[in-house]
Amino acid sequence: METLLYIALFAPLVSSMFSALFTTTPKKTFVGVIASLLIFTSFVSSSLLLALIVVNGSAPVHVEMMTWMATGDLYIPFGFIVDEVSVTMMMVVTLVSTIVHIYSIGYMDHDKGFNRFFAWLSAFVFSMMVLVMSDNYAGLFIGWEGVGLCSWGLIGFWFHKESATWAANEAFIMNRIADLGMLIGIFLVYWNTGTLQYEGAFEAFQTLDTATLTWIGIFLFIGAMGKSAQFPLHTWLADAMEGPTPVSALIHAATMVTAGVYLVIRSNELYSLIPNVGLFIASLGAFVALFAASMALVNRDMKRIIAYSTLSQLGYMFAAAGLGAYWVALFHLMAHAFFKALLFLGAGNVMHAMHDELDPFKMGGLKKVMKWTWIMMTIASLALAGIFPFAGFFSKDTILEAAFAEHHFVIYGVLLFTAGLTAFYSFRLVALIFHGEERYKIFGIHPHEAYRFMLVAMSPLLILAMIAGVLQEPFFHMIEEILSAHEYHIHSHTTLWIMLVGTQVFVALAILYAYKKYANAFIKVPDGTSAIENSFAYKLLYNQYYIPYFYEEYLVKPYKEISDMFWNKVDMKIVDASVDGIAGIIYGTGEKTRAMQSGNLSTMLKWMVVGLVVLLSLAVVFGLAARYSDSITVILSGLGVM
């Protein structure tokens, strides 16, 4: 078992280091192949671990590799645990990674940085594995920062592009803001429980007072907000789409952004003690779901639309986790990973075909040339929209049920409405890309389907997006041991059926509306003249509620200005100038008194006499003072001075 664990964990690291050896050499296909094989090895090991845990029902595998930091009372080992929660994540991570690795062999085929890409990608998988497998918060933080680093490297992979490097830095810095919260949360855990191990900390949480637990919960969640791009730290996710599409599929859809959800699920014993924070998380989740979906409605960048939908789905997950339905959140996380990765990879195919064109209005009618991609993206979108019997139906509907069953009807309503929006913008995209007139022709592009092996690589995701729903029951039975889950059943079957059918009809109508509006022959490339484009709501949504603008104007620019001011005005003109000023005074005094040294012996002798007189009088004064010190004290105290 332990061997399997180590293989699952370190195969990606080996892969990364192997690929890193070739970073400066020209493209070598075998690098990609070997990297994919190693990641696949990791996948196989994870599957075996899953099988052992599920089938044999064996206890979680817990290993302690070595000490990392130990000082004072602090003891942090490199410890890893494989239990039901982490093995689920491991499966998701390794499966999607394997597929994305294979897919990237084709996608990055013509790229100069082919080898470097695999080094970063495998490093990311390793960090993600550390994140999910660690048995303590510090280990989680290693993975947490590691994925941030790899995300930085991969968003800025095409580092000659200003926008890419800018987005990479933005993502890193914004995540850092959240990481500070996370770090403070970790400190709080340590000083209140004396340990960072999940096991010990959870045990100690039971005895802590609610105020402390609330603070811990809030700070840890701030960390989760950054990584999972929750409002107000969400802007980096859309900008992160500057990275290569496989990266968006793996990191910014399936795995890294769900790390925040994972953290909340992992700390479920904490959050179940503080339902108020849970409610806040759920409300924020619901808000983000709606907020992101609304921005996706009008966006004209294919990848950004999918990114906003990811954001929206993350909101769903947080809503579920916040309401205490941890297993539902984890299940949606898993299902979402499958269909969202599929959607992104499909988008990658389209981008390749369209020579990196991202505006769906400039596409249209692609289903003729890209039949398989069309099928895959449609099914992925159906799954995303939550149509029966695809994966999203089972995971998303359960979230709605959970919200309903917990009597949080506002959250339920928001999530339901968002489901409609989701269906609309997903099929707006599908319709614009694959249906209607072939608008790309005027741009002189000759699209082609992706390599066959890329499509084959995507097929497991396709299958999972279709059938993942059947996993719900087994998954529930596996996870209930650890997440103290209960199935959410609406008390009356009638209500349940009304809800189910109602949701389906609502979503289906949204899809039909999207097709009707965008799959026709009259769609043109918007030129900013139509009435809708000049409406306030459109502008608001198109500019992402002006939040990036606000950040740029009121945070980034002032920071730069204050920095410049600190340097030019404060540091140089005040701090340094005062030091130089003191030196200047001393120097100036010397310069002024220089005249005393006239060189004239007579004058110098006069000064000498003056000095003598001063010293003598001082001696006399001090001598007298010493002799009569008692009476002086008396006099002074009489005067009230001493």
């Binding site: 130990a70 009372d73 770090l183 701090v575 030091v579």
Partner: protein, 520 residues
Amino acid sequence: MLDHILSILIFFPAIAAVFGFMIQKDSIRAYGISVAAIEFGLSLWLWFAFDGNVSGMQFMENLPLVPSFGINYILGVDGISLFIIVLAAFFTMIGIASLTETPNEKNMIITLLFLQMTMVGVFAALDAIVFYVFWELSLVPMLYIIGAWGGPLRIYASIKFFLYTFAGSLVMLVGMLFMAYFFYQATGVWSFALLDWYRLILPETFQLWLFAAFFIGFAIKVPMFPFHTWLPYAHGQAPTIGSVILAAILLKMGTYAFIRFSLPLFPDASAAFMVPIAVIAIIMIIYTAMVAYAQKDVKQVVAYSSISHMGVIILGTFALNVEGITGSIFLMIAHGVVSGALFLLVGVIYDRRHTKLMSEFGGLAHVMPRYATIFGIMLMASVGMPLTINFVGEFLSLLGFYQQSHILTLLAGTAIIVGAIYMLSAYKKMFFGDVTKEENRNLPDINKRELVALIPLSIITIWLGIYPKPILEPINNSVEAVVQLMHNKAQTELAKERIPNLVKERVLVIKKTVIEEEVH
């Protein structure tokens, strides 16, 4: 030989430097490298022979100098100073090995060897006067390095460096004399031996004044805000090797002295001044990070980043608990490695382009991929990525201080944000984008001589980030002794509250385990 290994470590480079005058010009480099390598080997031997489980001083030497005034030549190392000595030997070695074309190479190497003597001397001295002598002597070679091989403003920079730090240490000297006088008053014998001073418990008012006197000397050396302005000039004008040694070792003298002198001698004053100093540390962290962000010269970015990191070290020191102090000592070593490497990296590009302005670069990742990679590793270490050496120190320092103040730690924690901002933007300006300047198009990638220095540093950066135990453990043991000493000496309520008592906790833990065993 082990009995006198510290004296050998101190005076071997000095004697070798004297003999260096007789060496031919063309073989001085080999001579310098071999002397520094032997010295480094000796320091490794010291580490090897050092017993990490002992918390007290080891390899003590005691030779009377002026017995009537209690001035003795006392040396010794513990976990706190050991690794800085090893680091000093290491940096001198790779510094000489990676020395690029320098006019008057012979003088440079001899100066470096003298500098090494003073550096080892400062960290090994256990007598205040001996400490002071080495402390001041270390200024001279540095003054010479900046003044003789520096940039256009070198005279101004070197004089500023010298006078500023010298003025501060004079105040410190006065403090030392008073301390010895108080010792004389209390015991009737003169002594400048640090270990004697440790036993002296001073009234709180005396502590406050003496703390302030020592503080000025140390704070200028660190350098703490607002005494920091000599550092950018010194770094800006110094040659690469000067900056490397200055950042890696010389700055650590100040923070080391805080732990060696201020904390154990004046525990009450340390507790009383904790909050103001923490505030200064936070200003250092945030303010200098912002100033670093505004810089146009990459070397100044690294220079200001040093100040910012020193802020974290100060914060950890004044956490006054084992976690924080251990973290701050570890961060001293970590910052030595990382900032030394960063200055070396800046030197690499300076040698090629003779400019340090970031606007002159851009797109270097295309032309110098290996250089970009190593710079990237050091960048990530500098911003405190876990599994790099800096993270361990920063994490422990902040963790330690969190026990004292939550809000201040939250503010200080912004170090990880502002640090990322200036470092990433500098990296972006230099390495990303297209190659815009024609001169940059054919720059040669990093060569073997430069790799000699940078590869070991990269390995240390990652190795100690993953497995800090060999260093952390001896540091921890010595720090526990210091904290316990401070607790035992503490008189005020404030100090007793802020400085944890380790012994009591130990007993409790033992009791707890005993009870648990009984239950089982």
